[in-house]
Amino acid sequence: MKNVILEGKNVSKFFGSLKALQHVDFQISQGEILGLIGPNGAGKTTFVNVITNVYHLEGDGWIKFKNITINSLPPFKTARLGIARTYQVIKPFLNMTVGENIAIGAIFGREGTIRSMYDVEKEVERQINFLNLGVTKDTPVESLNIVSRKKMDLAKALAAHPDLLIIDEVMAGLNTKEIDQMMEIILKINALGISILCIEHVMKAIMNISHRIMVFQNGEKIAEGNPTEIVNDKNVITAYLGSKYRSKERKHESQG
């Protein structure tokens, strides 16, 4: 068993009478890619917001990151401990250039306090090259297309040198070729030793890159296991995948 980097017990979040998350227990190990799937409104993004402390937990639940209880910290302190995230609806800082956006991660993320502005510029260049952004740092964000924006968002998160990266639907709106590219990038990031929590609707991607998958429905965890277990799980099929997906997979297997 590898080291557990992020662990939560009894994680719940209510909005009035709506139970967005109920009693979720979870673990992410060092260097693992954990996939998170579920129908719309299952509480996936709420889950991310709870981990990054944009929302705070209900009741006696707790979340520990590297054995530090983080669920009462403000968002910026959580980020500085080494949790970085991207957004489902990407939120680049629009009045800045690409370089300045990535610099935000480098200046204020983990290790940010020990960097000089010179180091920050070096780091920005490094991330642009690492992700093959294909634009210079002086490009205005407005002129980027959706793929480049998503890559830039990743670069910003990586510039903070996180231990855990949370990716929220980075494949949404990309075409097949771009999805393949993005999968490669995620595996490349994972190869650096960064644990990844990956929320995704694109099944092909999540089944291929995840070591383990959690499935949410109506705020509850209904299944957890490796990709093959998940594909054959009855609950998951009725709640999310649908029987069509399973038969398609079977066909695929018999052909292969």
């Binding site: 944009v54 910026f76 980020a79 009045n95 800045m96 991660g105």
Partner: protein, 326 residues
């Protein structure tokens, strides 16, 4: 490589240009010590206020409509100290310390508000300070105001003295904004302006940086109004009036919010224009000023500074106009 070289050449040009302007302003009192000097001193005051609004409104996107509170604080702290025989520099020092304390006390609750609520909240803050001033008659003179001691020099020396002090403070403020903008503080404030939640999850301590912007802007403004009070030798509660603040907002927007030189450019243009129009077309001068402001905002939403950024190229300006669908 070529781009870098061009940048350094451009930087050199800008530095030479700025040095010439500063030298020009430093030399003016040798030739003219009357009307123009007083006009320029007034222009500097507006520019400082505009620069103060720039750091919080232009960079961090928090719009304070009640910064007249700091006009009052600055003026009254200097006036009350000087009436009690404190020398001018010490009075300014008091001013800075007390302004920081006031800004901390009010900033803590106010900066938790966002958008329009923050703007409204700051108006309430101004109301509180005004009420305190009106009612503590014993120290503030209430509605009678306070007369400050006069400098026993001839009028030309007095003009020159305040001209240099105001120019100096304007230079200090501008250099501070320049340094903040280049460093993490500037990055943090601009990130907060775009998306405060995203900024926080990127590791930015938003409360801290908003407080820095709020206090910096308060100190800029209250010191400049403190100097202004000593210059005018009389202040009353009309200092809490919103009109001068609105004028400084206009200067900021016309010049270019969120840039270092924007407020200075705006102050120079608006003050000169309003002075020219007021002198020549007394009947409709505010109307003309309004028209000019509307035209600028329609065609140069980023402010006059955009003209310099786009190097006066019509094609680039047209593109910007098209993008804004005018």
């Amino acid at each position: 490589m070529i781009l870098e070289r061009r940048n350094t050449i451009e930087k050199k040009r800008i530095i030479i240009f700025l040095t010439l302007i500063v030298a020009g302003f430093l030399l003016i009192p040798l030739f003219e010590r009357g009307y123009i000097l007083r006009f320029l001193t007034f222009m500097f005051t507006s520019a400082i206020i505009s620069q103060g609004l720039n750091i919080i409104g232009g960079y961090s996107g928090y719009i304070p409509f009640g910064h007249m509170g700091f006009f009052g604080a600055g003026a009254y702290i200097v006036a009350m100290s000087m009436v009690n025989h404190v020398s001018f520099p010490i009075a300014l020092l008091f001013n800075i310390v007390i302004t920081i304390i006031i800004a901390l006390i009010f900033g803590y609750p106010l900066l938790r508000l966002r958008g329009a609520y923050f703007a409204m909240g700051t108006i309430a803050f101004n109301g509180i300070l005004k009420e305190v001033t009106v009612n503590f008659t014993k120290w503030t003179g209430g509605g009678y105001g306070i007369s400050l001691p006069q400098i026993p020099w001839n009028i030309e020396s007095v003009n020159t003295f305040f001209y240099y002090i105001m120019l100096g403070w304007l230079a200090v403020c501008t250099i501070v904004v320049y340094l903040l903008a280049k460093n993490p503080v500037g990055y943090a404030l601009r990130a907060i302006k775009d998306d405060e939640n995203a900024a926080a999850t990127s590791g930015i301590n938003t409360s801290k940086y908003k407080m820095i912007a709020w206090i910096t802007s308060a100190v800029f403004i209250s010191v400049s109004v403190g100097i202004y009070a000593y210059w005018m030798t009389f202040i009353d509660t009309s200092i809490y009036d919103i009109t001068p603040l609105i004028k400084s907002w206009v200067m900021l927007l016309v010049g270019g919010a969120g840039t270092v030189m924007g407020p200075l450019l705006g102050a120079f243009l608006i003050e000169s224009l309003s002075e020219l129009l007021w002198g020549n077309i007394i009947i409709f001068h505010n109307g003309f000023l309004g028209i000019i402001i509307i035209i600028t905002i329609l065609f140069l939403p980023g402010g006059i500074i955009d003209l310099f950024k786009k190097q006066f190229k019509w094609s680039l300006i047209r593109e910007e106009i098209r993008k804004n669908k005018i």
